[in-house]
């Protein structure tokens, strides 16, 4: 027996004597999971997805088993099974992102890329469209700029594997991909209650590089690019919101107000909430506390979230209405930051992921 084997055996025995030898986790029956999922039991993914199994080997097992499940079907069902696997995979990755699982990102990222590659060999479909939107929103939630725009920091280049490009090429009429590309500019996803220095807005200190091949860009250039979408029927409200917020952060309250006033009654509660929050911040800075109160109250009415309640409470204190301020905070039902539009702002389209996944599920489920 070699020295290495002796040492290894000793370590093993030592571990066993202390009960530390870890038994391999049983791999889930992926075919069963997928069958349940396909028939509307979406919790099947969770049941098979324990924290200990969220590693590369689990993902590889899932993918290989899922492929076998697809191949096992008759030819008339393979297309459907592929869509089931796609949806379940997106669901799986969604759980990883939601749980802040920051290890083995390459494995989960690989799942999306693999599915993306396969879908793009087929005729474009509404299902594929939803997949690209869902996958993009997940990558945005994971802050995975590398895969979104395939920016190689060292080389300062854009790779053809940029995921946003995949969706944009297949569905060129969907302006959400255009907005997503613009939103890769760091300054379009910042939100704060007071203006910031231009250097920080551009994140020069962070060393991030421009998405347009290295050319110097200014904040005004970003405003001009956003302007190309502010009248778009699908994403115009959000583009205008991000332009208005950026102008506020650049300490241009007049221009910001011009944009945000138009959004103050938007049917999109995400847009309305954040527009009102920034309008409230503008009013506060102008010492117009009555107007600030109105804006924060409307934000709270749009979405009963904590950031509006906190801003409103602070405003009420400044108005000498401590009892009302305390009541606002006391009666607020705690909301998850996940559901707070203020905190959703920096996550680009991640807030839309649940909707995309729901629609994908509706397209594949057989009851």
């Amino acid at each position: 027996m070699s020295v290495r084997n002796i040492v290894g055996t000793c370590l093993l025995l030592s571990g066993m004597s202390h009960g530390q030898v870890q038994q391999p986790h049983p791999k889930p029956d992926v075919a069963l999971v997928l069958e349940r999922y396909a028939h509307g039991d979406f919790t099947a993914i969770d049941d098979a997805f324990t924290s200990d199994q969220r590693d590369k080997s689990f993902v590889e097992h899932f993918q290989s088993s899922a492929n076998r499940w697809i191949e096992a079907a008759g030819s008339e069902d393979r297309g459907w099974r592929f869509r089931v696997v796609t949806t379940a995979s997106v669901d799986l990755v969604g759980r990883a992102v939601a749980r802040e699982f920051d290890r083995h990102g390459d494995a989960f990222r690989g799942v999306l890329e693999s599915l993306c590659g396969r879908l793009r060999t087929q005729r474009p479909s509404e299902f594929e469209h939803l997949f690209h939107l869902a996958a993009m929103s997940l990558l945005q939630g994971a802050d995975d700029e590398e895969q979104l725009i395939a920016m190689r920091y060292a080389l300062r280049t854009i790779e053809p594997s940029a995921h946003i490009l995949h969706g944009a090429e297949r569905f060129p009429d969907d302006s959400r991909f255009k907005l997503a590309w613009i939103a890769m500019r760091h300054e379009t996803v910042l939100i704060a209650s007071e203006p910031l220095a231009p250097g920080y807005l551009l994140n020069m200190a962070g060393g991030r590089f421009e998405a347009d091949g290295g050319a110097t860009r200014s904040l005004d250039d970003t405003l001009a690019v956003l302007a190309t979408l502010v009248d778009d029927p699908a994403v115009g409200a959000e583009a205008r919101l991000r332009r208005g917020v950026l102008q506020f952060l650049m300490d241009r309250p007049t221009e910001a107000t011009r944009d945000l006033d138009r959004l103050a009654t938007s049917a999109d509660t995400f847009v309305r909430y954040n527009a009102r929050m920034i309008l409230g911040a503008i009013a506060t800075r102008a010492d117009n506390l009555a107007a600030a109160q109105t804006h924060y109250r409307d934000a709270l009415a749009a979405v009963p979230a904590q950031t509006a309640a906190t801003a409103l409470a602070a405003t009420l204190v400044l108005l000498g209405r401590n009892a009302d301020a305390a009541a606002v905070l006391a009666t607020l039902i705690p909301t998850s930051p996940r559901d707070d539009p203020w905190f959703q702002y920096g996550q680009r389209d991640y807030r839309l992921f649940r909707g995309y996944l729901t629609r994908m599920r509706e397209m594949i489920v057989r009851r």
Partner: protein, 320 residues
Amino acid sequence: MLSTIALVAQAQRFASYTDAVAVPVLVTSGGRPVTNLTIDDFALTDSGVPQTISALQGVDAPLDVSLVVQQTMFFNFRERDTFAREIRDVQKLLRPTDRLEIVSTSYGGQVLMPLGPPDRQVVIPVEPIQPCVTVYDALVHVLARQPVAQRQQIAVLFTEDEGAGGAVSATMALRVARRGSVAVSVLHLTPRWIGGTVTVTWGAQPRCAWTRTAWGKDSRDALRAISVIPDVVQQQQAFLVAQRERLNDLAHATGGHRLKPSVFGRSLVGAIKPLLDEARSRYILYYAPTGRSEPGWHPLEVSLRRPGRFDISARPGYER
């Protein structure tokens, strides 16, 4: 006993605490608290105008203690259980008549323990690896509370910096603090390496994302590389200093203290006990302002009529 008598004697003269300005005052002589003062020993001016002190809460008033904590500080303890043990040690310093609350600075302020009896179990939730720190939002939860008569209200903020991305600006938070009666003390934590991952507190990048999985090895490597560039380090340091100065201003305006970070890292108790001892040695003067009703900052000055050498520490003023 003396404090109770003093309070009873004033009750008939003083109709309402809610309209009064509360001024916590520490009086020492030779470094030791003076605890036998009466209402007639004190004199107070508001914006230079002498005021009638309507009531005096003597020393040893019950405390309302608010701990406002940056949850990434768990990593300073390496594990949450250690933090929970530290909290239990703090709870042992408090009396049954005291109240304790713990608010996290994460994501707009998360109440880990609402204000109440000190002998409760604190539950530290699992937090995202890179929570969004919003110091001023969390402080508003403490500062926006209605003033409570006959209780000393102190808050201790443990934070590296202001955080980023809150709904309440530093300017607004300072104004709110100046209107209240909570003495806020600040203990500045120092940036730490967390398990080999660089923690870079840019502060001005208010991009509080709910999920920050940051999968990309490239971006982590880039961030690590950036963090050691001299210009970047210098810029970060300058920004951190500016943020800490704003926090110190808030502490000063409320009659609180800036605590030395060297104390921390060993125990919360080491940082908090002196504050509790001082708070228990403070009087609270109550008066209904007369002669000066304009909005804005009102400087206060407290003095003693009693002969002798005394050091008086009181909040510098308030805003109305």
